[in-house]
């Protein structure tokens, strides 16, 4: 029973990180129809910037906020310089560019900060909370992870549902040409979508770094899990990304806890395959809405 609860709790914390990665993928897929393979690497890079700030004596929270801001800027710059010029070209072109960007970012990070595994500090204690008399596998930092990602999802959903800007963003995603004819500055909204997505990726990077061995490659596996989560959620909805993240996190945690950690990536791949075969539109998508 204790093991079951511990696995469940760690699955939730992990799942929220995957949800943040998935949310970024969803925002970009909505904005420009691209799958951003550099989503994890961009989060990695900005987390290394936070790491540099920390080693230079900057406080945790200023470094945290700076990394999120850097993610926002990096996303906007990448959209403007690498993705925008490929508009109107085959849809695969920008996807390949993001794979190139992944390789470049990891290479550059390796040459700046070295390809060694280090530790990255957590904002709060990582010791399990004591509930009654037992210590569970859920720490103050895990609470922070859950709250931070939940707040992000709520903010994004509120943006889309209840603001004029969000309405413009949805319109631009669904019908860019019609939106342009209504005076919507579609290009700017695509840039904003990328910027928000990469800020979400930065948040994921910051949250998962203390749980991983922190090297330029620590986000690779999280990208795989985040991608699984995004597909599970239908690649279009922020809430889908959240639920997809949780399902993926729990599946991974249970496989890791009862079968063995080595099988986790394979389990994610199996989950992905099953979803693609049984419900290619994801748990939430409808075939109608899904753009291929």
């Amino acid at each position: 029973m204790g093991l079951f609860v511990d696995i469940l709790l760690s699955g939730v914390a992990q799942g929220m990180v995957f949800a943040a990665v998935a949310l970024g993928l969803v925002l970009i897929s909505r904005a420009t129809g691209t799958i951003n393979f550099a989503q994890g690497a961009m989060g990695m890079f900005t987390t290394f910037i936070a790491f540099s700030l920390l080693t230079h004596g900057v406080g945790y929270w200023p470094a945290f906020v700076a990394a999120l801001a850097m993610g926002f800027v990096l996303g906007a710059v990448v959209e403007r310089t690498l993705v925008r010029p490929l508009r109107g070209k085959p849809a695969l072109n920008p996807v390949i560019v993001t794979i190139g960007l992944l390789i470049v970012l990891e290479g550059v990070a390796g040459s700046i900060w070295g390809n060694v595994a280090r530790g990255f500090p957590a904002a709060f204690s990582q010791r399990g909370l004591v509930i009654g008399t037992t210590r569970v596998a859920f720490s103050h930092f895990d609470v922070f992870i859950v709250c931070a990602v939940a707040a992000l999802v709520v903010a994004i959903v509120a943006l889309f549902r209840w603001t004029d800007l969000g309405l413009r963003m949805r319109a631009a995603a669904f019908s860019p040409e019609v939106s342009q004819l209504l005076g919507v500055r579609v290009g700017r909204l695509f840039t904003l979508g990328w910027a928000l997505a990469c800020a979400a990726g930065s948040l994921a990077g910051l949250l998962v770094a203390p749980l991983s061995s922190f090297s330029p490659y620590y986000m690779d596996l999280n990208l795989v899990y985040g991608f699984t989560a995004a597909v599970l959620g239908g690649l279009l909805s922020p809430v889908g990304a959240l639920v997809g993240g949780l399902v993926t996190g729990l599946a991974i945690a249970f496989v890791g806890g009862y079968v063995g950690p080595d099988l986790q990536p394979i389990a994610a791949l199996a989950l992905l395959l099953v979803v693609l075969m049984v419900r290619p539109q994801g748990l939430f998508g409808t075939t109608e809405v899904r753009r291929v």
């Binding site: 309405l167 319109a171 019908s175 019609v178 004819l181 209504l182 579609v186």
Partner: protein, 235 residues
């Protein structure tokens, strides 16, 4: 208000428009007729900035349209209702209309502008919270025309608005258009394959064939010319 001079557009080797010149005025409906592939859609898409022209100019109140981006042209007061209508099916009726208010209205004017559309088209008001995908063809046409009007444009560009509508609905739509232009001083460029109904409401008519203007005249004179009708208008 709209002056088009020697406009030419090519898609690769395909010459879609060749030296097209005409004018459209405030409060008038200018209809552009011609067979499939004549270049009618290309003309409207060039005016609204979706297609780049190779030669010639289009001006709106003396300001160039050619070379400008669609968002800017929309903000200048040119509202293009595209072929196939352009309802955003993933949004609700109300969201589609609100989207039309952003470009040219101040924040405080927007709600009233949307409510005015509901007054004009009560069927839309009844369905404001529904997904636009649930609307009938006639209702979709009301929605896109309402969405174009809500921005208080000065020039409407309509691409085959009667396509797929029943004759009754189509006639209502033409009557509405006539009313709007006469009352509000709105100019309209009406592209139609249904030449008969377009000629019945228009103030001026242009016939395109293979990208060139073959006739420009009073609608009544065009309708009376039997050989022209048979050659280019198909009735």
């Amino acid at each position: 208000m709209l002056q088009v001079e020697e406009l030419s557009v090519r898609y690769g080797q395909v010459r879609a428009l060749e030296g097209v010149s005409f004018e459209a005025r405030d409060g008038r409906i200018t209809t552009v007729l011609g067979a499939n592939g004549a270049g009618k859609t290309t003309l409207l898409r060039t005016l609204s900035g979706l297609v780049r022209n190779q030669a010639g100019t289009a001006r709106f109140d003396g300001q160039p349209l050619t070379g400008r981006r669609p968002e800017i042209i929309a903000r200048m007061g040119v509202a293009h209702v595209p072929e196939g209508r352009g309802v955003i099916a993933e949004l609700t009726v109300d969201e589609n209309l609100r989207l039309g208010t952003f470009s040219r209205l101040r924040r405080v004017e927007r709600r009233a502008a949307v409510d005015e559309v509901y007054e004009r088209f009560p069927q839309l008001g009844d369905r404001r919270r529904r997904s636009a995908s649930t609307l009938s063809g006639g209702e979709r046409q009301m929605l896109v025309i309402g969405r174009a009007l809500v921005s208080r444009p000065r020039l409407l560009l309509l691409d085959e608005p009667s396509l797929g509508l029943s004759p009754i609905v189509s006639a209502q739509m033409m009557a509405t258009l006539r009313e709007l232009t006469s009352e509000a001083g709105l100019g309209a460029v009406l592209v139609e394959q249904n030449a008969r109904s377009a000629l019945s409401v228009a103030d001026w008519a242009i016939v395109l064939n293979l990208g060139r203007i073959v006739v420009a005249d009073e609608p009544a004179r065009l309708a009376a010319d039997e050989s022209l009708r048979r050659h280019y208008l198909g009735f």
